[in-house]
């Protein structure tokens, strides 16, 4: 069976979210420590993508549950 025929588990599916979150937190954390925290440029643009991603995932899960 091809590896793509089998649906990957939750951890593998959400690796991109995990990777982006790790970097998002590290960068913002270091910026806070070094006193250069800029919420507008550092946090909001990528943060909006993270929120949109999570909402889409949750909506899809909700729809799947209803079906």
């Amino acid at each position: 069976m091809n590896s793509r025929d089998k649906r990957p588990n939750f951890f593998i599916r959400e690796i991109p979210l995990l990777v982006l979150l790790v970097f998002w937190v590290i960068y913002a954390g270091i910026e806070v420590i070094r006193g250069r925290f800029d919420i507008l440029t550092s946090v909001i643009p990528t943060g909006l993508f993270i929120i949109a991603y999570i909402i889409v995932r949750l909506v899809a899960k909700e729809q799947k549950g209803r079906d």
Binding site: R4, P8, P16, L20, W24, R36, D38, S42, L48, F49
Partner: protein, 209 residues
């Protein structure tokens, strides 16, 4: 351990996770092509930019990075494929599309460009602190920390060039090993295209400045 060295190692480890994700969800052929091509692109492009003085763009700070390949930090071997892979995956999920199968392909591409610009905000705000990059010119338009505004345009342009190239080569009906080789070789076309993309922005904003 030095903070920056730790960050470089974390980035390499996280890239390994993305390769695992890609292999599990997109298959080995796509993964080899995408990440090997991205590695070639990153190292070749950044060496060209750092060493060709006529481009008058930037070089990397020797004080910040520890691991190097020529004039480019080793981390650039994974940086572009890492960022574009995140852009592609997030965009496909958000718009419900798929670059390879063709479902909402244009929207996936546009959203990927937007993601890359957003990611540039996060990355370049951080880069300006150390600084990681030494700019060789005085930009007409700057954002936080004196970073040229063209970085947002530049990151978006990389998605615009890299993703269609990926699609084009992946769809070729030849053995995967040849597709990987062609894609790696295609960086000699992608690099000038991207430099041209940046030059357009610099030219347009020089009139404003």
């Amino acid at each position: 351990m030095d903070l920056f060295l730790a960050l470089e190692l974390i980035a390499l480890a996280l890239s390994g996770l993305l390769v695992w994700h890609s292999a599990s969800t997109r298959g080995a052929a796509f993964t080899c092509m995408f990440f090997l091509g991205g590695a070639f692109l990153g190292l070749a492009r950044e060496n060209v930019v750092a060493q060709v003085a006529a481009l008058n763009l930037y070089s990397y700070s020797p004080a910040a990075f520890h691991l190097w390949v020529g004039a480019a930090p080793l981390i650039l071997m994974v940086f572009w494929s890492y960022a574009i892979y995140l852009a592609l995956t997030f965009s496909e999920i958000i718009v419900g599309g798929n670059l390879i199968s063709g479902r909402r392909r244009v929207w996936v591409l546009l959203m990927s460009m937007l993601f890359m610009a957003a990611y540039a905000c996060l990355n370049e705000a951080f880069a300006s602190m150390y600084p990681m990059v030494l700019w060789k010119f005085k930009p007409a338009l700057t954002i936080w920390g004196g970073t040229p505004a063209m970085v947002l345009w530049g990151y978006a342009g990389m998605a615009l060039i890299f993703l269609p190239a990926t699609l084009l080569v992946f769809k070729l009906r030849i053995r995967i090993v040849y597709r990987v080789m062609i894609f790696c070789a295609s960086v000699i076309v992608m690099i000038p295209l991207h430099l041209l993309w940046i030059a357009i922005f610099r030219l347009a904003t020089s009139a404003i400045g």
